[in-house]
Each structure stands twice: as C-alpha cells, then as structure tokens.
Amino acid sequence: MLEALACTLLGVGLGTFTGLIPGVHVNNLAPLLVGAAAVSGLPPMNLVAVIVAMMMTHTFISYIPATFLGAPEAGTELSVLPAHRMLLEGRGYEVIRLTAFGCLGALVLSAALALPLSLVFAPAYGFIQPQMHWLLLAVIVVMIALERSRSGILWATTIFLLSGLLGLFTLDTNLVKGDVALMPLLSGLFGVSVLLLSAVHKSNLPKQNVDNPEPLELRANVKALCAGTGAGVLTGIIPGIGPSQGTVLAQLATRSSGMRDFLVGVSGVNTAKALFSFVALYAIARPRSGAAVAVDQLVDKVGLNELLFLIVVALVAGGIAAVLHLKLGKLAARHIGGLPYREICLVVIGGMVAMTLWYAGMMGLLILATATAVGVLPAVTKVKRTHCMGVIMVPCILYFAGMKDAVLSAFGL
C-alpha cells in the first residue's frame, strides 16, 4: 500500500517534469519504465502506478507551458490560442484555474463512469468505428459552415486542405521517423505562428491578475465539463481521434463558443481520454495511448481489480496534480507579468526550432516552416484556427474510410 503510494508520488513528480518541459512526453519515459521493470524486481503494479500517475499529472501540468509559453503538444494545441489571448489580457492564472477545474472535474466524472461504461464499450466500439469517417466528415462540414461568410468558408476550406495535405505528406511517409513529425507540425500550426504574430503586436506582457481572479462557477461550466468528459471517453476508445477532434465534437454538441467554456472542455477531453485509454485495456483489451501500451506490457491481463487500482491511482495523482498545477501556475503568472514579451516569444520560438532540429533534423525544420506559414493564415484571414486540425483529421478520415493507401498511391507516394 505504502509502496504504491510512493510510486504514485514518483509518477506525479515525473509527470510534472514531462508536463513542464515542452517536447517531453510521457511516451518518452514510459518505455524506459517497462525496461526498468525487468531489472528492478519491483512488482509490476507499482510501475503501473508510476505510469498512470505520470500520465494523469502530465495532462494537468502541460497547460502551464501551453498557456505561458504558447508551446503546444498533442492534446493542448487548441487551448493555446484562447489561453494565449487570456494571457495577453492579464488572465493567465484564470486559464490555469479553468484547466485545473476541467481536468479534475473530468477525471472525477470519468472515474465514476468507468465501470458502467466499460460494460457497453465493446458493442459501442464495434458500432462507432465503421462510421467514424462519416462522423468526422460531418464535424468538418459543420466546422467550416460555421464561418458563415463566403470568404470565411473559402479560407477555412483552403486552410483545412493545406493542413490535411501537410499531415498526409509528413505523417504517412518516410520523411521523418514514426510520429516525430507531429512535433514540428503542431509547433508550427499552433505555436510558432501564434507567437510570431503576438511578438509583432505586443512588446510586454501585462501584469497577471493572480490575487483576484474571476470566480469559477460550477453551474456555468458544467455543460462544457460534461461535453468534454463525453468527448474524452469517445476519443479514449476510438483510435486515431485525438483530444482536439474531441473538443470540436464537444463544442458542437454544447454550442459553446466562449473561451472559458472552451478551456474547461478541452482540458476535460484531454484528462478523460487519458483515463479511458487505460479503461479500454479492461473493456476491449486494446491500449489507446503510449502509456496504456506500457501498462499492457507490464500486466498480463487488466481485470476488475487492476482497473480499480488504476482508477484509484489516477484519482490520487489527479488530486495532487491539480494542487501542483494551481501552485506552479500561480508562480508562473506572478513572475511572467512585465517581462519583455517579444524577447520571450523569440526565445520560445528558438527553443521550438532547436527541439525540432534535435528530434526531426533539417526535414523537421522544413515541416515547421511550412506549418507556421499555414498557421498564420487563420489569424490574418479571421477564421478559426481549428481548421488547422485538418493536419490530423484528413489522415484519420482516409484511414477509417480505408482510402489512405489509394490516396497516397494517387500522389505517387
């Protein structure tokens, strides 16, 4: 019991580290822990506790660099723009509180739903998966139609197609290894492009309102929280659907457009997805995240006892992570105000370029530059940045429709 608690705390520490450092993900550390299991002699369930706690903590803490540095990663990319906008209004700490609320609320809700929903997972999975490309296509059509004006629709379609081609040419070819292309893609579309434009317009960050933030009202955000949790559950069982697509679904379902609702929703999706990627191990015996793959390798079979253990660890880690998130976020907000913003932006951009070079080489740099050029378009044409999600949605739709190979062949790839 004490050992499991110590391992949970270790996982919280590791998750805080991966969450705070842009470009470092749980998936980088989880395989090392699986390797450690073989030589350490530690009971596998203790290492499972480390991985689950690390994953859950990461989903909270990663909103700190996303908010204050505009450094996105898979799952937080859509939060960058509203979070950044609020930061420029001196409301960075409010973003931290909203994402803490979204993450923790979704964790508690999804933990409560895990057991009953796991019973209907298998049939639901069988029903949804064959229709997934139609569902995604419908989401895209609605997303683009919501631009209303003719030029808005035209630009939204152009941005979606450009992002989609970018995703197809980089994620499904041998340009860079595995999923490494995701880093320059997301950094360019949602990070560098945002920071570049901000650096042009703003010289200093305003003092952040840390001491009198706007109060959080459960009732006002409960719709976004429930929608986020629902979308997170869906994305947790269906492969290829990320938190961002889930957020788009949640937004459409709740018709919410405010920044506060959006941030609660997107953080809820991310955390619920993280928990349900483990629940999927019990319900459909399939891992749905890098961390879940590691757990799958450590445990022969995830039964009811193992699932309950995972949920308890996730709840304990989530509780601690929420407090850490608020404390660290407050610290960041207190010290970032008044700093030379343009220089900070340039340093962060430099960091992203260096990370890209390190992970993906010169080809990564080309991908980053192209993604940045596409990422600038929504801001200058006044359409939603969500259309850049074509980068993942187009390859996903083609995969689910069974047309990816045919399309790549048509391009001669």
Partner: protein, 222 residues
C-alpha cells in the same frame, strides 16, 4: 504589411513548403527492402519487404507471428495481430510468399515489421511439393506436402507416425505427443492432409516432423 498581403504571403509560403515536402516525400517512398539490410536505422520507418514464411506461431489470443526470409538471406519477424488477421480474407501458411508493408520496430532486441492493417499484407500461396520428388538430399529443407494417410501407427511414447502417399511417392510424418495434445484433429487412414515443416533423416529414412497442430490441415475426410 496589411493583412491581405500577409494572407497572400502565407499562402505562397504554405504552397511552396508543401511542394518541397511533397518532392522530399517522393524521394523517400518505401521500395522493396532486402530483409538482410534491415538495421536500427530503419526503426520507425515504413518499409516494404517480401519473403517466404519459414516459421510461424499462433498465439492463443489470435495473433500470428511469422518469420519471413528472402533471397538476401535475412530473416525478420512479422507479427500479424488478431485485429489485422481477422480482416485478412485468406489464411497464411508455411512457405507462402508474403509481401508486407509496415513500420519497423525493435522488440526484445530484434527487428519486426508490423503491418497496420490487412491491406498491408499480400499473400501468394505456394503449392504443395510432390511426394515423388522428395529424396534424402532434401533433408533439412522446409516443405509443404499433401497426401492421403495410408498408415497410422501409434508409437510407444504416444507419438504418431503417419505414412502419406500421393502419386506413387510416399513420406513419413512424425507427430510428437505434445502436438497431439495441442489440439491436433482426429486423423484416420484415408484422410487427405496437408502438412508443412522441415524434412529430417531418421534412421536413414526421410521424414517430416510436425512442429505444431496448426501445421496440419485435414483437406478431405475419409
């Protein structure tokens, strides 16, 4: 610079970048890779390989683990997970030639090529060899044969020795006890069976030793 000009410039940069990425992707598209050349540099990349199934193992959960060997002399593991296998329209048998497209991964220090879906696998079935064409020189060679059971002998240890006949040729098939206990179907004289495995010499006679129950199929009952 006004927003209209910014939009035009961004669009131009996007299209130029995309064209450059497309041209680069064309340069690195996967071509048929000799298995012997697969090394750590390929890990994480998509490759296409083609080789003959020289070993396979069926996991109780439905996964199929193949070993493919090609003319380069290299052997590589190809795990076909249950989900992918269930989508395959046809079974994969020993000595079939299989073309695989998939990502190279390192598992337990060995390279694997993992197909993501059934469409990444193409199977060319090989026909069974004629029993009359087999001789002692074929010892230590993998074969797939088909014939009628003309004799069935239970050995002292509980093992089974079958005599297959086809077109005037004949071959002994040795089935160890553990294979019989591992779900081997009931076999009777007169059954037409297809068997695959490695030929060996035992007491100077050529015989095929069955490695597992899945290496024998009853084609026609007696």
């Amino acid at each position: 610079m006004d927003e209209k000009s910014m939009a035009k410039l961004s669009l131009l940069c996007s299209l130029t970048g995309l064209a450059a990425i497309y041209a680069a992707a064309m340069q690195v598209r996967p071509t048929m890779t000799p298995i012997a050349s697969l090394n750590d540099e390929f890990v994480g990349l998509q490759v296409a390989i083609s080789g003959q199934v020289v070993d396979f193992y069926e996991h109780p959960d439905g996964h199929l683990f193949l070993k493919l060997k090609d003319d380069s002399g290299g052997v590589v593991s190809v795990p076909v997970f249950a989900r992918v296998r269930s989508e395959l329209g046809e079974p994969i048998e020993f000595l079939d030639v299989v073309q695989v497209k998939g990502e190279v991964k390192l598992y337990g220090g060995e390279h694997e090529v993992i197909p993501g879906r059934a469409g990444d696998l193409r199977v060319v079935h090989t026909a069974p060899v004629k029993l009359s064409g087999l001789s002692r020189e074929n010892a230590d060679v993998p074969v797939k044969v088909q014939g009628t059971i003309v004799e069935r002998e239970i050995l002292g240890s509980g093992s089974l020795l079958l005599t297959l006949r086809e077109d005037g040729g004949q071959l002994l098939v040795f089935i160890p006890t553990w294979v019989i206990e591992d779900g081997l179907p009931e076999l009777h004289v007169g059954n037409v069976v297809r068997v695959d495995g490695w030929l060996q010499l035992y007491n100077g006679e050529l015989e095929l030793k069955l490695k597992g129950a899945s290496h024998l199929q009853v084609i026609e009952a007696a």
